[in-house]
Amino acid sequence: MDSINPLVASAVAAAIPLMLAALGELVTERSGVLNLGVEGMMLVGAVAAFAAVAHGGGLGAAVLAGVLAGALAALAFGVLTISLQASQVATGLALTILGTGISAFLGRGYVGSRAAASFEELPIPGLSALPLVGPFFSLTLLGYVAVALLAAITWFLFRTRGGLVVRTVGESPAVARSLGMRVSRIRYAATLFGGAMAGLAGCYYAVAQFKMWQEGLTSGNGWIALALVVFATWRPLRVAIGALLFGGVTALGLYLQTVGIHISAFALASLPYLATVAVLVATSSNQLALRRNAPASLGKPFFDGD
């Protein structure tokens, strides 16, 4: 079973940023806001984190920069969709285009260069040597933080008053408002949180996974994260499982290449995208389950007059 651990390790590594971005989007969507700009927010987070270490900031600065950049991008989305009632779908697309442009613009000097500092694996002695599950105990610091965030978000959404408020706003903003909740403010908070998480995922790509800069570093993973939320029927734990599945598909592609199986590298590279389509189809064919689980006001603007 020695050969399985590297495979699992690369699946886990690919899963973590997907999970981070998807968890953030899940909270945003739970409040009724559909932000399709995950890819754009991830890219500005990634370039901010990369620039932070390139300018001599430490890894802490990288995380801070990534999170702030992601949240800032989400703020722009919030102003347009929550305050100015713009279409959430169109604004999300615009945010992706803008974020792609900003990251390419700011990152133009870094193309091909290595990250000046990066997160390394911190194996837990003993546990990390276990077959199959070992890689789960040999994460980077960001990886452990991601697992902690998974627990925290699950707890927040389903065990706290704040989580109930977010979910109520997502189900029925009119009811929430009549109960005295500040719908716009809560949606802003959930949107900003989603942006911060996407920025953190971008930071992970820049300084914990690829550790180098190239244009379009996230290569569509922001969109896969969006699909994951649907796949997980808006439940955090299922997001984690789905992220692992996707990480597994990516890792399998890389693995098949290294053992010299004769499949085109391009065909293997398309696996995650095809898997996303397959998963969407499988999840969406059960419309009833989707409708039961999706936040009822998802994507619908709410005008509360403030």
Binding site: L84, Q85, G101, A104, R108, W223, A267, S270, S284
Partner: protein, 363 residues
């Protein structure tokens, strides 16, 4: 607290509908000039380099039209879908397949090229785009999968398919190992304007422009004068009413995606059989995505879209000109595109709402 608040208009303002794109363009211009100033450029000079110099000769006009044409064509197709609330954002991939199908004809029959070659490439390109879009249509209409994510995922797959072809079976054996196909000869290329219009001597403008020029009135007639176009508009504005009237939602999805795919596929042909004259692995500056902005900026109207396409094409070639004469990075064009769309969406609030000073009595 802001000194004003939004009040919903009883009726959307028609004036604002046409003013918002102008307002958004003006805001983008102001921010753009500020960015230039921040980068240490003289804003006036930057403005000239960006918007005036590139179109001051025949070559510039030719390049402008060469870029505006595919953008306009794709956006016309997308707009029909957006009107019906079907968000095909994979036009980029559908365009790739148009290019791939046309190239397939060109290189598989290169021994037998003749007058039929170009027309069959055009047809194949449209079919290629439609086939690729039909995957999204099938998954959305029959299996309810979200068309935004599916069409986008398929764009990544289409990109890899193009790479596979030009790195593998279709690579020009005499191409020094570059990922390119053989150069097409005249039978497989759109005729140049220069061959019958002297003013365009030495420019790349070609007859593919006529596809777009025909598509504009066709789109207008379809949207404004046909029953199918009307049904699609109802499906977008009031889905419940459309269902009540018995308009099939599935059919609407198929129709708009096939139209969008055909337009994008044709744009792909006009590129590979136009300025490129071959297929390579990085042939598009993202027309399929920019066309989304063009469609929005043109207010989804077949008359507004051509104007928006011209503006967006100007942003592209202005970006190239700025790169050459001001050493400004090319990515800045993408930033401007994104800003323009964001401002447009922000300004749109004025269509349905008006600003009202806090404290003043509501009229």
């Amino acid at each position: 607290m802001l000194p004003f608040q939004l009040v919903r208009r009883a009726v959307p303002s028609r004036a604002m509908q046409w003013l918002t794109p102008v307002l958004a363009a003006a805001l983008t211009l102001v921010v753009g000039l500020a960015i230039f100033a921040a980068l240490g450029q003289d804003p006036v000079r930057a403005f000239r380099v960006y918007f005036v110099d590139p179109i001051s000769d025949a070559n510039g006009v030719s390049e402008l039209l060469l870029k505006a044409s595919p953008l306009c064509l794709i956006a016309l197709g997308l707009a029909i879908g957006f009107r019906a609330n079907v968000w095909n954002i994979g036009a980029e991939g559908q365009m790739y397949l148009g290019g791939v199908f046309a190239t397939g004809i060109a290189i598989h029959f290169q021994e037998h090229w003749g007058a039929w070659t170009l027309p069959s490439m055009i047809l194949a390109g449209a079919i290629g785009g439609m086939l690729w879009a039909s995957i999204t249509a099938f998954l959305r209409a029959q299996l309810n999968a979200n068309e935004i994510l599916v069409s986008l995922m398929l764009t990544y797959v289409a990109d890899l398919l193009v790479k596979y072809l030009v790195f593998g079976p279709w690579r020009d054996p005499n191409g020094n190992n570059f990922p390119i196909t053989v150069q097409f000869a005249d039978d497989a290329l759109f005729p140049l304007f220069a061959s019958w219009w002297e003013w365009f001597e030495g420019t790349r403008l070609n007859a593919s422009l006529f596809i777009t020029l025909v598509a504009i009135p066709l789109a207008w007639v379809f949207v404004k004068r046909t029953f199918l176009g009307f049904k699609l508009a109802v499906a977008g504005l009031a889905p419940a009413a459309a269902r009540y009237a018995g308009y099939s939602e599935k059919r609407a999805i198929w129709v708009v995606l096939l139209i969008g795919g055909a337009c994008a596929g044709l744009a792909g042909v006009s590129e590979v059989a136009g300025p490129l004259g071959q297929l390579n692995d990085r042939w598009t500056p993202g027309y399929g995505f920019t066309a989304i902005i063009v469609a929005a900026l043109g207010r989804l109207s077949p008359l507004g879209i051509p104007l928006a396409a011209l503006l967006m094409a100007l942003l592209y070639i202005g970006g190239e000109s700025a790169q050459i004469s001001l050493q400004l990075p090319r990515a800045i064009a993408l930033v401007f595109q994104g800003l323009l769309l964001m401002f447009l969406l922000g300004c749109e609030v004025l269509v349905n709402f008006r600003l009202h000073r806090r404290g003043a009595a509501l009229a």
